[in-house]
Subunit: 337 residues, 4 copies
């Protein structure tokens, strides 16, 4: 950590900073420049309170040298993590594809979708039983009945299930039925929920907050991991920007950035990241070309009848075409679907 | 609701839309333009699924005519709501000022702060016992011990207490000690939590999500209100933008916009909305000039020692100066502090 | 165009709107709903002033049915435009790659770069002689001397040249030396400049403003085209968002969106869109996978010595690797480099 | 400036950085930490190329210590600048109010508006003769005929005139008629134009780019000032964010931030910053309460007939009410209108 003093900091201000650091057991280097004095601090800065230092008299700025996440950092673990769900490995050579409707609506709908997406080559089934909706008057999901449908369809089709958990007290229930717990974009900083899933051994699909930076996404992963659960898969699902033609802006840069910063697997949700089914295929191919380890895609047998997010859902036939085209791009980057 | 058909929509597409609407009991008006056909729908559109209609073949766009919130709407209740806490009324003539530290750190710190802010004219005490922090390694708050301190200081000083609740299972506990429940920016769309506080009769300070629209804020208020609790006070606390000089961008426009759209009281948090104590006074005066019904301000007896958010905390002496200046602006707009 | 009246609009308000429309020669459809009256307008709405209508008493909102751009619209011209520069065709099967340094610094630098990028398979040479720089104290480009270097290197290598023009009075000069005129991100809405290049017959590379929507980009293309110059190539180069880890956020969605809305060719600038050379390869592959017709990439023989934008410049060897990998992705989507 | 080396930087990398600095005449301080080496640089860092240093092998980040603007900086000139236009002083005790229509439409319209705003207490007249419009099909302004109208109305009413200049070749013409040159939001980084107005002695109203940072605004002021023209008044006019209820988001924080960073006067444009006339009064009062030195407000005798921006224009009567209320707030902060 480096402390940059103000141009008009007094000798007393500088002395006070040094005294505080030294009494805390830190070693320091002082550089007196022509305009400013700069104090370097030696040691693990994660132990030091940046904010408190920045508020001392005469301090202009405090510059951290290390990143604030640790367990999620590639510095901490240089090799790619692999998160395996019954043989499907996130972070390996294969692109793992999760597909299914936004919401579980009925057994027939889930069964029909599951059969179709399995046929097209999907590896896992998605579908929400608990749905975070902006309006209290919108469909809120089927709840446990929806979870039971997911479990039954898994029995019938062999497709493992990822589904959202919205509050700490649902974690046990959802874990009974699901193979992977999804944390949705609005809950990325719901710390009670992060702690709760961190105390399970379930794989977690952690979606980036639509308003969250890449670093904040990694800090939320760190919450889960610091509770002991390292089976975290990150998901870029589009961010909120000034552009309103699309529902969100797919931050495709986030894929190679995350690959630099962390060892955790990274998947992309092209459905939410665009909000329009006509754009999903292009976004999926871009994601794989950029290095994503997986995709989570909304597919519905009859999007016009979907109880949520139908605008961005693909019909099964179009999903099958997507899988073929994504497969070609995957091969072009040395991977397979 | 208005349905705009695509230029190339077939007669069959149009027929299908009309049939669906009419079978649902809606009356329609059809306008065939030179390039497009437009279908108007008569009745309460909140009952109609905009998404499903927009996904029918040949449909270009669906344009809602009414706003999606109802109980929170000024159309629903034209007169200003008043939320009263033991005589302090949000939404009346008086500007209600809540002040105190970001986090409860000790009885001494809270007592000293409370006495100072009461002296300066504050009406309520703020302070967090449960703290949402980006990093799992940062101080997470004192928990129930912090709540007990808040309650004790209330006894001693007569200042009523607003404090944050982070998860549904904390609602009962926090309600035992606090006079007003705060929903923080990261939890504005934590629907389990909104439902939980909606089922109490506690006043709620609902902070705007840092990247949530004004309409989403009102939809979250609608969640609380639709559970039966109408004692909601909205809080503009700054939004996330590209500007990085300040921690957030105070959306001062939101104050008069909310006053147009809703009858609920509106307060401003100038501390988070700026992130720098040097800006808090100017932002507070702007908020009151723009029509805010209250302020929530971070004050700490020794900001440099604060366990969180010290950069934006005022020393008691500066807070006292702020109160004097805010009082003058309040008088200029026909109100008092 | 549809006019939605306010709930409390009077009959007189409605009458006044109808009178104004009818006196302007418009036919109207009136739908009186339970809460609102809605007026549909028949005819080419581009002739009607949306703003003026929206300001009449009793009017709540005016909803346009058609898009505001015409010549650039795919409705206007369904087939892809092709912009050809001496045999290199933007908008055809081949991905056109423009490469070179941010700034022209010397004949040696340009010659070395040009030979290297031609060797790696680039089709055109980029390099700025006039440089828009945030600071007046930064290097502002070599001016005409730089243009002469570009022209000489074109003679030597056969690589055609794209270079930026910053003001209307430079258009004639730059056109003497360059094969394609670039409008930079800060000038996307410099209308005097758009009009000036619109009055030439030069191909134009129009970069999206870092703060501009997709629709605004198309409106700026419309400025050029409405002056008679239809040889416009659009460039997505990253937008400004709250994410600060990267210099900009590559809006990869914009590629398929533009392909839907317009017939004009679309290229991507992965160098500015990321701001870090380590991310350029992934972004380039994503762009081609998403459907881009070309790439413009910064390459510098010695990035550490570059007078601008060295952080995002590739060394020639890395550019050669990129071309190989991009070629594989291009083949996977049925195209070639 | 401080250079933070990567954790894995070699001794050779460090040596190379030191050699380069020392050969450039810089003195250095080296701090070898447990994980990283940090190099401090002594001297005026504005002479050193931050980018080039950051691209050397083994360098992680370069942290500037000083701000990049100089002439505009409050460090450079601690006292407030005053920009005087025929007795109206920006930066003094009085709030300078500029009012008038978005566009000059006719002599009658300007004369009627000017008389009304003078009556209400405005000090200067605004009105555009050259209009930057998103669409080439929208009204582009009356040009020189509009300037002549402005000049005539000035003669008749004594109100001095601020009007926009859009390109370098208009500067001479507009200067003949106007008392203050306005640089619009889309031209804040039109460097040819900044240089051109910098070479005059005309007062300049420099509007912040709708997606430009505060620092970039100051760098654009620096362009004008480094050409010798120090008569610059800054204008916050709202920034582009995700919030779409208002046309822009008024960054009220920018007012006190600019007051900290620069000695230049700061005015606010509440009309563009909100885009809705119903919000203009609240925004104006907030601006003055936050410390603005002036306001520029759109007023039109008949907003529904305005050729541009009528939604945000006040009728003269409402402007008069605004002036009364703003006057009270000004008095509350020790100023006058």
């Amino acid at each position: 950590m480096i402390i940059i003093m103000k141009a008009n900091a007094s000798d007393g201000d500088i002395e006070a900073v040094l005294t505080r650091l030294e009494s805390g057991g830190w070693r320091t280097h002082v550089s007196k420049g022509e305009e400013r004095t700069i104090i370097g601090i030696i040691g693990d800065e994660r132990r030091l309170d940046q904010g408190a230092m920045s508020r001392m008299d005469g301090v202009d700025r405090v510059v951290p040298v290390l990143r604030p996440f640790k367990l999620a950092s590639r510095d901490f673990q240089p090799d790619d993590s692999k998160v395996s769900i019954n043989g499907h490995v996130f972070g390996g050579n294969k692109i793992v594809v999760m597909a299914g409707p936004c919401s579980v609506e009925s057994l027939e709908q889930m069964r029909e979708t599951a059969i179709a997406v399995r046929e097209a080559g999907a590896h896992m089934l998605r579908g929400g039983a608990f749905k975070p909706r902006t309006s209290p008057y919108s469909f809120q999901g089927m709840g446990e009945a929806g979870l039971k449908i997911l479990a039954q369809v898994r029995e019938e089709t062999g497709l493992y299930v990822v589904t959202e958990v919205m509050s700490p007290d649902q974690v046990e229930l959802v874990s009974k039925y699901a193979d992977m717990l999804q944390i949705g974009t609005r809950n990325m900083q719901n710390y009670a929920l992060l702690n709760a899933v961190g105390q399970t051994n379930m794989p977690v699909l952690l979606k980036r907050g639509m308003m969250s930076t890449i670093e904040e996404l990694l800090m939320s992963a760190e919450y889960i991991m610091s509770n002991g659960n390292h089976r975290v898969v990150l998901c870029e699902r589009g961010i909120r920007t000034f552009e309103k033609y699309t529902r969100n802006t797919l931050d495709i840069n986030a894929v190679p950035v995350l690959k630099e910063l962390t060892h955790l697997p990274v998947v992309v949700d092209p459905s939410h990241a665009t909000g329009k089914w006509t754009l999903v295929k292009a976004a999926s191919k871009a994601a794989v070309a950029a290095g994503a380890d997986g995709l989570i895609i909304e597919v519905h047998p009859n999007p016009a009848e979907a109880s949520s997010d139908g605008e961005q859902s693909l019909k099964p036939q179009r999903f099958a075409e997507l899988m073929v085209e994504v497969g070609r791009v995957a091969a072009a980057v040395g991977r397979s679907v």
